[in-house]
Symmetry: C3
């Protein structure tokens, strides 16, 4: 009923985006479960997981939007407290969220044709990311 | 333990909002499950599902807010790549998300009195939308 | 397979933030379940639940960001309809969301070291909040 696996990715830092749909679908297949939901979750407070049409335009537009609404240059309390330069990274991660839940049926994710699962690095330096994938179903 | 159904809606295009709480609750009842979570998910990358107080004021305020923060008029990479005029639709969908999870108990959704489940069309043309509802529980 | 409990908090009104990670983890422990997901959900349309590095800087930055992007001072349709002064509260809650799902393993939440679960009050007056926690697993 519960199957757990992890995806490891190496990011190059702020604005680096990865498509992880196929790796998530492989975990659904390995689980042997036929119907249910998968939950995909970035461990850590400066990474983002969601769905989008994964193509070069939006791969630029999404981090552009986040940097426009939540600019690196603003005066953040987090920066005054810790001086690690990533106040915007935390807020960008919280507004979209660190995880997504997607339904599946007969081993296939129920996504649109132009709807993929992405990971977006919001932190300012390269990170090794662990993405926890939990398959719940029967 | 897993019950699956779908809600079909026809939208009129950008900013069109539907309340789907009752249809979701009917699926919970049909499932026969007593306690757990339901997951409500829009298939496709330009639709939005979430919770809000569903009333005429916010039915205008929510799309207004999205069009103010993520305007149709900006110069999007998605537009330069595909010329389909819906770069903002994708970003609006990703920032709120295509789905929501809600707890239920004894066949009743655990929502506030003024908290409903909505679907918001972010695409620029009318769409037939399939919303996948997954009930997980016992 | 399903374990349900609630967390009650008293908030002081708009921008009041609480860390609830430990209380959520205690519910996972009480459930006796070894592996799965927990879903944490604010009942009501003006409360927010998510993850963040919980420290004094971001405790100010997060409500600051929401008040900057979705200001209390704007002319909201909700205000014209109901005159209760909390149009921004509803929109702030919808953009981040009322709930979060987190994986757990051997009774421990799979969060980063600096990643905590928070509740943020978006309403304009003190509220008694019920946060529903659902543990799904085996």
């Amino acid at each position: 009923m519960v199957y757990r696996d992890e995806i490891q990715i190496q990011t190059s830092g702020h604005r680096d985006m990865h498509e992880i749909t196929i790796r998530v679908e492989q975990i659904v297949e390995k689980s042997g479960l036929q119907s249910g939901i998968i939950h995909v979750f970035n461990i850590g407070s400066t990474g983002i997981v969601g769905t989008i049409e994964y193509e070069p335009g939006l791969e630029k537009d999404l981090p552009d939007m986040l940097d426009r609404l939540i600019p690196p240059s603003l005066d953040y309390g987090h920066e005054r407290q810790w001086n690690d330069g990533n106040g915007h990274s935390h807020l960008q991660s919280t507004i979209i969220g660190p995880g997504i839940t997607v339904p599946f049926e007969i081993g296939r994710l129920l996504l649109g044709t132009w709807q993929q699962i992405f990971h977006l690095e919001a932190d300012i330096k390269p990170r090794n990311r662990t993405i926890v994938v939990t398959v719940i179903g029967e």
